[in-house]
C-alpha cells in the first residue's frame, strides 16, 4: 500500500511516498512554501519522479503551516504530531526532538511509541529560526548552504547576543565593520540560534537520544553548536527536512489501515 505525506512549511514544501508504512518510495522538496507555487510543484514532482499515479495512493495526510491548502489530502495533522512520528520511524531510540523550520522552532518530548508527551514552541517572534539564518546569510553574502563549511573554519567565535533578528542584523553588521572574520561571526550566529533553542529544550524531559530535524538541521554549524551545548550526540537524518512529511505518510498509513483500505 502506498501513502503520501505532504508538509507545506513557511519556506519550503516537502512530499514523501511510503510503501506499507515501512519504506521510503520517493521524496521531493521544493524551496517555496505556503502561498506560493511550492505546494502544487511538490505534488507534481513526487508523482513524476516516482512514476506513481495519484489513484495508487491509499491515503494522504497534509501537515505544516499550509496543511489546509492541500486539496488532495484526506486529513490534516499538526506538524508536532507528524515530526514525532517521523522521528520515531527514523530513530526509534529518540526521546527529545529539536525541530527548527522556516519560522518556528519546537522542542518535543516523545515516549517509546513516538507519542508526544509535551511540546514547547517559540513565541510569535521568528528569531532563531530558518528565517533568521536567511537574513544573516544575506548580510554575510554567503549562500545559506555554505554556512556550515564556513563555521568549521572559525577559531575565535564572535558572540551574537541579540535575540531579535533586526537587532542581531545590526550587531553582525557592526562586528563585520569592526573587522571580525566572517567565519567567526557565522559561528556566533549559529551559537545564537542554539542558545535560543535551548530555552525550549530545557523545558522538556531532556531525555536522550536527541534528534535534530527541520531545514535548519541541514546546517552542520548549527548541529555542531547543539552538540557542544548538550555535550552529547545529536542524531540528524539525511532526511531531516522530510521528517514531518514522513510522519504524515505514516499517519496516512494508520488512517488507511483503520478504514480497511
Amino acid at each position: 500500500m502506498l501513502t503520501l505525506g505532504i508538509d507545506i512549511g513557511s519556506a519550503s514544501s516537502k512530499a514523501v511516498i511510503m510503501g506499507d508504512g515501512k519504506e521510503l518510495v520517493a521524496t521531493a522538496v521544493v524551496q517555496a512554501g505556503t502561498g506560493t507555487s511550492g505546494p502544487k510543484r511538490v505534488t507534481a514532482e513526487i508523482f513524476e519522479r516516482s512514476g506513481v499515479l495519484p489513484e495508487q495512493i491509499s491515503a494522504t495526510i497534509a501537515t505544516g503551516y499550509g496543511r489546509y491548502g492541500v486539496d488532495m489530502a484526506d486529513g490534516q495533522i499538526s506538524e508536532i504530531t507528524c515530526h514525532a512520528k517521523g522521528v520515531h520511524f527514523l530513530f526509534p531510540a529518540a526521546r527529545t526532538i529539536l525541530d527548527i523550520g522556516g519560522q518556528d522552532a519546537k522542542a518535543i518530548s516523545i515516549n517509546e511509541n513516538g507519542r508526544v508527551l509535551s511540546f514547547f514552541m517559540n513565541e510569535k517572534c521568528a528569531a532563531g529560526t530558518g528565517r533568521f539564518l536567511e537574513v544573516m546569510a544575506r548580510i554575510l553574502e554567503i549562500p545559506l548552504s555554505e554556512m556550515g563549511d564556513w563555521d568549521r573554519k572559525s577559531e575565535h567565535p564572535a558572540v551574537v547576543s541579540s535575540t531579535c533578528t533586526v537587532f542581531a542584523e545590526s550587531e553582525v553588521i557592526s562586528q563585520l565593520s569592526n573587522g571580525a572574520r566572517r567565519e567567526d561571526v557565522i559561528r556566533g550566529v549559529h551559537n545564537s540560534v542554539i542558545s535560543r533553542a535551548m530555552a525550549l529544550l530545557y523545558r522538556t524531559h531532556m531525555e536522550p537520544a536527541f534528534v535534530f530535524t527541520g531545514g535548519v538541521a541541514q546546517n552542520s554549524g548549527v548541529v555542531d553548536s547543539l552538540r557542544r551545548e548538550l555535550r552529547q550526540e545529536v542524531l540528524v537524518s539525511p532526511q531531516a527536512q522530510l521528517t514531518g512529511a514522513i510522519g504524515a505518510a505514516l499517519l496516512a498509513q494508520e488512517k488507511a489501515d483503520q478504514k480497511g483500505v
Partner: protein, 411 residues
Amino acid sequence: MSEINFDEMTSKQMLEYLVAKNMEDARQAKAKGGLVCWSSSIAPCEFCEAMGIYTVYPENHVVGIAARGGAPELLAHAERKGYSNDICGYARVNLAYMDVQKCISEEMPLPDLVLLCNNICETLLKWYENIAHTLNIPLLIVDVPYNHESEVTEENVAYVEAQFKRIIEQLEDITNRPFDYDKFEEVMKIASQNAKDWYDATALCSAVPSPLSGFDMFNYMALIVCMRGKAECGITFRKLKAELEEKAANKICGLKGAEEQHRIMWDGIACWPYLSHTYKVLKNHGVNMVGSTYPSAWALMYTPGDLNGMARAYTSMGNNLSLKGQIDLRESIIRDTKCGGVIMHMNRSCKMCDFLQHEIGEAVTSDMRVPITTFDGDQADPRNYSKAQYETRIEALVEMMNERKREGGGQ
C-alpha cells in the same frame, strides 16, 4: 426598572439589559451631578454602593472595545502619548479613552474618584494614579500584600481592614455625608450572596457534558464585575443556574452545534480581540473550555457586617496566592471540572500571569500528566496574536488528548 419583568427574561437577556443599564445609570447620574467612580474589577464595591456612588469598570469597558475591534486606535493614541507597548493593554486603552472619550463601544462617564485594589495586578497602582493625577480627583487604594506563604496572615488582613476604615473616612470627606453603615451591611449581604450565586452557577461546568461553555461564562462575567453590589446580579445568576441545571439534566452541551469530545482548562485572561476565533477553533475540534480560575475569582464570601472577614476575602482571592496556592488552585479546577488538557494564554499584557505560567505548567504536567499548550496573545492588543500559531497548537493538543484517550488515560 419597574417596567421590566425579570420573570419573563432569560439570564442572557437579563445580562445584556443589566450591564447596559448600569452604564446608562452612571451616565445619567453624572449628567445630574452625581458621583461616578472608576474601579478595578475585584476591588470592594461595597463602600461606594453604600454611599450611592455609581461605579463603572474600566477593565470591563476595555473588553467591550477590544472585542469590537476598536482597541488599535486607542492603543496608538496611548503610545503617541508615550505609554510603552509593554504596558498592559487595558491600561493603555483606558488611559487613551480618558483623553479622547470616544470609542467603538459604550460611552463611559469620566470619574469623580477612582478605587483600586491590587489583589489582581500591580500595574493598577500607576494606571489609576495617572487617572487621579490627570483629572485631579481622589484616589482610593486598597493595597493588598501578596501572600508569599500558604497561609494568609492576620497581619495582612489587619492591614487591609485598616485601609477599609480609611476608605470610609475618605468617602465621608468626598460626599460630605456620614458613612451609611446600615446600607453598607445590606450591600455586604447582597455582594456576598451574589458571589455565592456566581460560583454556584459557574460550578455547573463540572457536569459532563458541561452545559456552559467557558466562553459564555466570559460574557456573564461582565455582570459579576459591574453589579456585584446589586441584587439583580444574584437574580440573574440564580436564573442561569436553573437554566444550566435543566440543560445538564438533559445532557445538553454548552458548545453550540458541536459535541463535547474534550474538556480543557483555560489559564489566563481571554484573548478578547480574537474571542470568536479562539472559541471557534476549539469548537471545531469538539473542545469545551470548562475549567477556569474565574468562577473562584469573585467567590468573595464573608459574613455580612464582618469587616475583618471581608478584608480576608479580598486578600485571599486566587490571583493573590503564593505559587503553591496558584498550582493547587489549578489542580483542583482540573480535577473538579474533569479536564483532559490545559491551554495557557501567554498574555503580553499580564507579565504576572506569564511568569507564573511556566512554573504552574511544569507542576501540573508533573503532578497530573495533563498535556498543556501555550499561545501568544493579548487581552486587548490584537497585534500580539497569530491565528495560524493558535490553530497549530490547539490541533497538537487535541491530537495528544486523542492519543491519551486511545491509551485509556486522561479525562
